[in-house]
Amino acid sequence: MSGYEACAEGALAAGCGFLGYTPIQPSFGIVRRFITRCAETGATFVQMEDEISSLAAVLGAVWTGRKALTVTSGQGFAQMMEHIGLGVMLETPCVIVNVMHDGASEGIPSMPGGGDVMQARWGSHGDYEIIALAPNSPQEMFDLTVEAFSLSERYRTPVVILFDPVLGRMKDSVNIPEAAKIRVEKRKYYKGPKDGYLPYKYDEKDLIPSMVDISQGYRFHVTGLTHDEKGYPVMNDECQEWNVHRLVNKIRLFADKIVRMEEKYLEEADVAVVSYGVVSRDALTAVEAARKEGIKAGYFRLQTVWPFPEKRIAEIAAGIKRFVVPEINFGQISLEVERCSRGRAGVDAVYHAAREVGKPGSILKAIQKTNK
């Protein structure tokens, strides 16, 4: 099964019932798989006129009680920024799959890229937190897509899955567990009296308000404007603080529970390679090659790019000399690593060109510099 197919299967396994998309390559493999399975799963799909409306339709569908997915790439992701903001503000769970291609604007749509990492974090205007996952194999495409739905339902936020066309086309055997064994967090529904529903009255414990579906008779109102508990727009500082602090804190304070990472050979390492996505496959090869040469190299992979594993990076920074951060861009996550290491370890950003995917040479060279 290819990565694209695994992603579509993951979405269906998680109970996704709606796909809104606009054809853009290289993300179409997911759509193809999803829509051929629609009839049997009861899911529905719509090809919208642009990515702005794809994500808008997805947000709308979520409020009818479905889980919803949109897939995109490149410029499409840029168009979606507007509604990532709306999704955050309305606290609408949804999953956005972004297949990163190389280059700005049109770029090279068939080549892998890694330039959308910061966009996923900061792309929409205003202040918010987001969750972004970066799988690195078809199996993980499946697992992390399920996880993405789980996280989005749990934290009521849009979740971004970042990968690239190389992973999408990559074929591998994917173990799909039985439906009963797939655990997806359930949406937190309000169960009180009908007239007592406040769309943004949150629980002090987890800062997450309960949701209701359209047509259940709650007659609620939600708005993208700064709103109070009732969901009504309120234009004052106090409400803005109440609103935005919680939107940020509901993820920031629970980052430890969200963050997923993979570590290898980090004990007594001198140099740690921090990577994510397709590059991490080369990074692991490079680390293993370096260890054969006697360099104490460690491997650290981000499964959740956002929220960033700040604490763990800081811990690692205390024990090593240097970080090597290979990415298919001129330094985005390396900036985060630099921030979290707070000068305790040097950070070496490695530009891993799209044509070098599958060739760990440049990463190995960067690791080798440690001993010089």
Binding site: A68, I214, R219
Partner: protein, 281 residues
């Protein structure tokens, strides 16, 4: 006087349809959006439809605030994207009746693409487009519907852009029901909304509404009442008029009526039919 006291205690007949805790609303004195809401509420009352199954979606702008005043499940979304958002709701749960109420700038300018494509797909939506010829909430800028040569804050020498003809756009894109009324034709407007509501497919009702604060002030057309009086004197009811003739010239006659009423298969019907075929095969 006893009778009056008991009557005073009676609720306004629309109190159950509106979020009375938010009234007074934000619209200026003399604005016609309240009339459109009133007509819509009247239509809901006439329909006696289960209000739990009705969803109102708005975009941004003066008319974008409508969703916040109507006591159904309601969404106030991003600028121009109300139709796209409503499309998702309708496809997510085809049993719902989804109504988009938004302004001309929202639906025809920034949301023009969504308007055209939702009509083309024939998504089962009712769109109420309140047309006040101007971007009012942002400060009276030229809108896609501003007639030539009206003054706005961004057309200080008079507007020279050709305005959009909303019914023609809707018809060309494939809407099944298109009507236009002014904010004064309250009963006909409410009846039209009822008809549009019951029509499967994409239906559009345009409401010509006075903007007393920007459009009429900068053009020295008086207040809301004067605009209403202008509609009273200059609107001509011509049902079935070709939408080619529906351009609105500056302070000229406004043709109102029901222009398009036809049948086309709605999107969700077609989709389900295809899915069924697929399963049979």
């Amino acid at each position: 006087m006893e009778t009056i006291n008991t009557i005073q205690e009676q609720k306004h007949p629309m109190d159950d349809l509106l979020r009375m805790d938010r009234i007074p609303h934000i619209w200026c004195p003399g604005c016609g959006i309240g009339n459109a809401v009133s007509a819509f509420a009247e239509a809901l009352r006439k329909l006696e439809y289960d209000l739990d199954k009705v969803v109102v979606v708005s975009g941004i702008g003066c008319t974008g605030r409508v969703a916040g005043y109507i006591k159904t499940d309601s969404f106030h979304t991003t600028h121009g994207r109300a139709i796209a958002f409503a499309t998702g709701i309708k496809l997510g749960n085809p049993d719902l009746k989804v109504i988009v109420i938004s302004g001309d700038g929202d639906l025809v300018s920034i949301g023009g693409n969504h308007f055209v494509h939702a009509a083309r797909r024939n998504i089962d939506l009712t769109v109420i487009c309140v047309n006040n010829f101007i971007y009012a909430m942002t400060g009276g800028q030229v809108a896609p519907t501003t007639p030539i040569p009206a003054y706005t804050t961004t057309s200080p020498f008079g507007n020279f852009e050709a305005p959009a003809n909303v019914p023609q756009l809707a018809e060309a894109a494939g809407a099944v029901y298109v009507a236009r009324w002014t904010a004064l034709h309250m009963r006909r407007l409410a009846d039209s909304i009822v008809e549009a509501f019951n029509r499967p497919g994409f239906s559009v009702v345009e409401v010509i509404s006075p903007c007393a604060m920007y459009y009429s002030r900068i053009n020295k057309l008086g207040d809301g009442l004067d605009m209403m009086q202008f509609y009273y004197n200059n609107s001509i009811i011509r049902h079935g008029e070709s939408t080619d003739n529906l351009n609105i010239d500056y302070q000229k006659e406004i043709i109102v009526g029901k222009f398009v009423d036809r049948e086309r298969p709605a999107f969700s019907e077609s989709l389900n039919e295809w899915l069924r075929k697929d399963q049979v095969e």
